[in-house]
């Protein structure tokens, strides 16, 4: 016979494992409800960050990723949650000038940082050159990966300019070149389920060419 304590433990395990499933499928609010009882003030932190040039002061559960802070707290839903595990690039944003996966970093780790999301790159009527090129070249189908692709490609062109090497860079002691092969390799952290890759590369190559 199971004692009440054992029952309590298995109920708790059930809650924990269902919370984990919810987290994987991406409903952050469900997770917060399931675990709310276990959080306290010590599990919250204050964080100030600048997003697209505006300052925000947030009180967040320490577990809040930068991605969830942007989407759930600031309602900047341009940044997407694909895998929530660093595997797809849909959540790519630019923090202090560098692209990162916002799903694998905590909001509390970014106090004082400057974040740029797809909304900050350009808006309808005043598109960033890469946003315009993605439209022109049909660099998407469903569009879910697109904000991540565009944030990533903006940073990729900067990384090449800053002479950061990649896996396909030939001579490590010379300036990295803006070639389709370089762009393709550097964009490999952004997966497109619709397979719009060739048009994405065309869009980036065009902007790289006109800039260079």
């Amino acid at each position: 016979m199971q004692s009440p304590i054992q029952l309590e433990i298995s109920r708790r395990n059930l809650l924990i494992s269902s919370a984990a499933t919810i987290a994987v499928t991406g409903a952050a609010t469900g997770e917060a409800v399931a675990q709310g009882a276990r959080t306290s003030m010590q599990h919250m932190s204050k964080v100030s960050l600048s997003v697209n040039g505006e300052s925000y002061n947030l009180d967040v559960d320490n577990r809040t990723t930068l991605l969830d802070a942007l989407r759930e707290h600031l309602h900047l839903t341009g940044t997407k949650k694909g895998c929530d595990h660093g595997q797809c690039g849909a959540c790519t944003v630019i923090v202090d000038g560098r692209r990162i996966n916002s799903c694998l970093t905590l909001a509390v780790m970014h106090d004082g940082d400057e974040v740029i999301t797809i909304e900050g790159l350009g808006q309808p009527g005043a598109l960033h050159p890469l946003q315009a090129a993605f439209v022109k070249h049909d660099g998407f189908q469903c569009g879910y990966c697109t904000p991540g692709q565009i944030c990533s490609s903006v940073a990729v062109l900067e990384e090449i300019k800053a002479n950061i090497p990649s896996h396909v860079t030939g001579d490590l002691t010379t300036q990295a070149a803006v070639t389709p092969a370089e762009i393709r390799e550097r964009m490999s952290g952004n997966i497109c389920r619709c397979g719009a890759y060739s048009n994405i590369i065309d869009a980036i190559v065009e902007v790289a060419g006109t800039k260079a």
Binding site: A20, H43, T65, N101, L104, L106, L172, G189
Partner: protein, 316 residues
């Protein structure tokens, strides 16, 4: 993810003390491995110590002409550093062969060394795994083991260490510098840093509780050709099936480490001396004690062939 408290460390000493006094605390650097595992509740720290603000992000020349790499130097910055590209090209190459541009912008030197295995059963919390839950069994032995280790394995675990960077560090004879909670410091040769699984696969390094990695130090440059060759299931953004990190001199002598085959970067100094004799002899010396599974036996041939390609490239 389980709830946790959070602090920003004020110094290395304070961070080491805080970690040693609370067995459920963990340091967080880039967070790209720890948070991944926390979301799955494979890691369940109740306290996180953020070590990003401690100024450990510098790369400096040492007195003997080597290089001291701060623990918090990002993988991107290490790969792009002028001296690393010129004198330790193997390290740059290994770094840019790993993960993605976004991940490398966050991932740190220490975090990369301490990243945990990608064994799918370690990640699947519904399956037995001695590394995740000591004593529960190993699902990979007798399960899908194509990606797993072929050498240095045990009956408890056949997982591999997934780091590309660590293969370069191993071939380059890096030394890991640490600070302990009692204020003492130590220098650990990379060969002694990671452990084989034995019957405690959950203990992966010789670090003590609270021990803080402050830097990784490279000896003065070795010259020679620096080559990192990674064989994987797709051309980019995938972990190694097998990888070779080598420095090869004009006379054919050199140093070599192998990735994707063991629980730690695989380096046998006796195998280095065989390099001038070619890939077959060197690979046999490296994998003399291999115990592959039916599914990963192919790695034995793959190591030899990848090494053959590296030796040929060095001659070019």
């Amino acid at each position: 993810m389980r709830a946790f408290t959070y602090e920003r460390a004020s110094s290395v000493e304070a961070a080491a003390k805080a970690a040693a006094s609370n067995p459920e605390a963990k340091f967080i650097a880039g967070g790209t491995n720890l948070l991944d595992l926390m979301k799955l509740e494979i890691e369940t720290p109740t306290h996180l110590i953020d070590i990003n603000g401690l100024g450990l992000d510098k790369i400096e020349t040492t007195a003997d002409g080597g290089l001291r790499i701060g623990a918090l130097v990002r993988n991107t910055d290490l790969a792009a550093h002028e001296t690393v590209r010129r004198d330790y090209g193997l390290l740059s190459r290994a770094l840019v062969a790993g993960a993605s541009g976004q991940l490398r912008n966050r991932a740190t030197t220490a975090g990369n060394l301490l990243q945990r295995t990608r064994c799918p059963y370690f990640y699947d919390t519904n399956q037995p795994c001695n590394k995740r839950q000591p004593g529960s069994g190993c699902s990979a032995i007798g399960g899908f083991s194509r990606q797993h280790a072929v050498v240095g394995t045990s009956d408890a675990c056949i997982a591999t260490h997934p780091s590309d960077m660590a293969i370069a560090m191993s071939a380059l004879d890096a030394v890991v510098e640490t600070a302990k909670s009692d204020g003492s410091r130590r220098s650990i040769p990379i060969a002694d840093f990671h452990r084989l699984p034995g019957d405690t696969p959950h203990i992966e390094t010789i670090l003590e509780s609270g021990e803080f990695i402050t830097a990784v130090v490279l000896p003065p440059p070795f010259g020679g050709k620096h080559i990192y060759r990674k064989v994987r299931d797709r051309a980019s953004y995938a972990f190694a099936i097998v990888s070779i990190g080598a420095v090869i001199q004009q006379d054919g002598t050199g140093r070599v480490a192998v990735g994707g085959v063991a629980h730690k970067p695989w380096r046998i100094e006796a195998a280095d001396t065989e390099l001038p004799k070619g890939a077959r002899v060197t690979a046999s010396a490296l994998l003399a004690d291999a115990r592959p599974t039916e599914q990963n036996r192919f790695k034995i041939d793959l190591v030899e062939r990848a090494l053959g390609a590296v030796i040929a490239e060095a001659r070019d």
